[in-house]
Amino acid sequence: MNERNLVEKLKQGDEAAFKEIVDKWQDLVYNTAIAIVQNEQDAEDLAQEVFIQVYESIHQFKEQSKFSTWLYRITVSKGLDLLRKKKTRKRFAFMKSLFGSDEQIIKEPPDFFHPGIALDNKESGKVLFRAIASLPENQKIAFTLHKVEGLSHQEISEIMNTSVAAVESLVHRARANLRKILEEYYRHEP
């Protein structure tokens, strides 16, 4: 069944079509999610939330873009929401600790190793993902979609609702910022 038929069937409430959609696009959603949130459990939850939203709001998909573009948009949006929530929780816990609350400050997440990186690149991949996490949101998304999902600037511009030139600029600035972060990191590395 092609993409258009699957979407039509899902709009009619066909659960078999939903299963086929999940089977077909679960790797895309999960891989994007794990690259954004950098945690396997969060990525699993996020991927589930994405497909729940697809099921609930398929009628809002107007087929003006590719289905995968719509999926990327939902994943990116939900991923960024999750990161913001985690950041807020961390700040709140820190503030509470300042006022003498017994609650411990949320610890830094453990090192993230992307499961798709070759073994001999694992260590440098870990360092790079830590640096990516500190980039501004737009740069982070553009760079991640380009490098981890292998999308073209054109595809990223459709997902991010921006121009190709803007995406090129975002990826370029992301790379420059990553270089600065890595220079700092390797200068102070024990």
């Binding site: 690259a35 990186i117 440098s124 360092v127 981890v148």
Partner: protein
């Protein structure tokens, strides 16, 4: 040793470490877990209430609460009866209103 002498090449290697990256895949049975999550989300309010009420801990707390409220009500009832008796008795004493029976009327001389 080589790493410490050549930070530039390390930076380049790190920036290029995503070359050839494979897609990460979710754990097997993703769809099953997804359906289970959707089912939990779709349960109606009544279904969730029944599940909540039938939890052993909730049932035991509810029974204990009912027993406690019954005991409290019984205690207050006993206390209220005792107070009413005292008030009635003092009222009778004050107005010389004693309990009379038919025997008292038939034998006024006693």
């Amino acid at each position: 040793m080589k790493r410490a002498q050549d930070p530039e090449s390390r930076i380049i290697a790190t920036l290029n470490s995503l070359e050839g990256i494979q897609r990460a895949k979710p754990a097997p049975f993703f769809f099953t877990r997804l359906m289970s999550k959707m089912q939990i989300k779709n349960e109606s309010g009544w279904e969730r209430l029944v599940v909540f009420i039938t939890r052993p801990s909730v049932a035991m707390v509810t029974v204990a609460l009912i027993i406690f409220l019954n005991m409290l009500a019984a205690y207050h009832e006993v206390e209220r009866n005792a107070k009413t008796d005292i008030v009635e008795q003092s009222y009778a004493d004050y107005y010389y209103v004693n309990t009379s029976s038919l025997y008292d009327f038939e034998n006024p001389e006693q």
